[in-house]
Symmetry: C2
Subunit: 224 residues, 2 copies
DNA sequence: AGGATGCTTCGATGATGGACGAACTATGCG
DNA sequence: CGCATAGTTCGTCCATCATCGAAGCATCCT
């Protein structure tokens, strides 16, 4: 018999299909209402509500009440990382992945991971930023290089961090198996991409699709 | 409704207390027999056997038959990483962590993670190896530096890789939140440490305790 | 105020799956 | 060959928990 962190409790929370669907939906990064999550999970509203309170109690979710809406979101990057890790194992282990399918292809290229960009594009971007020494990775820690502030300011991104959350963080990409940029900077870059309409989010999916011109712009700015 | 990698299936496998205990026990890295795992999980042999076959079917475990013994082990580093990620969330979320306790302190300093060393010591070691350019980390990928082969040969470690498994891999440390060295090299270093008796494994725990002289030797070789 | 919408709580139902004892198979030992 | 040990399979019992309809709060709109 052993004890310690109650891993079974956390895992069993993710272990229910309805809850797993909800968490996966929240990996998109946008907070969702109880009704939306019920739809997403394919259960009735009361059932969803019950699941949500369990996830809350387990500390996996945060909620923000706005009027009569309650927006549920993942409790933090650590939770998002856990979901990615589980997804990675499930994808590796599952023999059910017969045809990759177009949606999956798009997902591999670029997708939203919690609040930042993931996929091949994101991995390439981090590689390039490190190669140009805009960012410096020491260990797994990623730091800002000397030129970072001016570099990002020129693009219109403010890298000053007020939040307690780190500016840069490495996040393992389950499709490419290498890391991409997370943290407030990662989130700001994704904001920028969507704001400039270089890419749009695929409906009901985490996939992010670049327009031809948007792709050029993105590559000019981040992969040059 | 969504589909994709069946994350609920995997998570629910980990979500049962008995199975979670088994998996946690296997994080020690040594393969265990069904009876040992039954004891570890606190269930009867038939029950354990049933759990083990489920874990096998889920692809989380591998088994090696030797005579009338069947040694069960984690299916791979990816699975070990997932368990670490879940453990991290459980530790962060669990309010039950009242007193850190001596065992936990020892765990933070040095512990076994699947088949390599984790904890503060392990993180410090990787930092130092990278700083000395024995190892080079590009992205999350860690490569051997030019001097690596001779450097490790001098200590008596052969870095040639025959296995399909990578020689170097970064593994996120849930206590320190930075990565340490995994892969065949990480495993070889742990072997070396235990073989030279610089440290011993705490009974019934993943903690690794260095002797005073062993600590000196380890620091001379890896942190110089 | 009154009505509509979003969400939660309650209560009853049903199914999944975890538990163990007993019987069965397989390997090793003398 | 027979006995002991390691492990699996089978059958049954039992508890947990997911599910939904109906009713109860809370908030917004007019």
């Amino acid at each position: 018999m052993r004890e310690g962190p109650d891993i079974a409790r956390i895992a069993s929370l993710v272990g229910d299909p309805a809850r797993a669907n909800m968490l996966t939906a929240l990996m998109g990064g946008t907070a969702l209402t109880a009704s939306e999550l019920a739809l997403e999970a394919g259960v009735s509203l009361p059932t969803a509500s019950s699941h949500l309170s369990k996830l809350m109690e387990g500390g996996l979710l945060t909620v923000a009440s706005q009027g009569r809406h309650r927006y549920y979101g993942l409790a933090g990057p650590q939770v998002a990382g856990m979901i990615e890790a589980i997804t990675g194992v499930a994808a590796a282990v599952g023999p059910q992945r017969v045809r990759p399918g177009p949606r999956d292809a798009a997902m591999r290229v670029a997708r939203v991971c919690y609040d930042h960009l993931a996929g091949e594009q994101a991995v390439a971007m981090l590689d390039r930023l490190v190669a140009r020494q805009v960012l410096i990775r020491d260990d797994k820690e990623i730091r800002l290089g000397p030129s970072a502030v001016s570099h990002f300011a020129a693009i219109g991104i403010d890298v000053e961090s007020k939040a307690r959350r780190p500016v840069c963080r490495a996040c393992l990409d389950w499709s490419v198996r290498r890391s991409h940029l997370a943290g407030t900077l990662g989130a700001a870059i994704l904001d920028k991409i969507l704001l400039e309409k270089w890419a749009r989010r695929e409906k009901d999916s985490r996939a992010v699709v670049f327009s031809p011109l948007g792709k050029q712009a993105f590559e000019r700015v981040f992969l040059a």
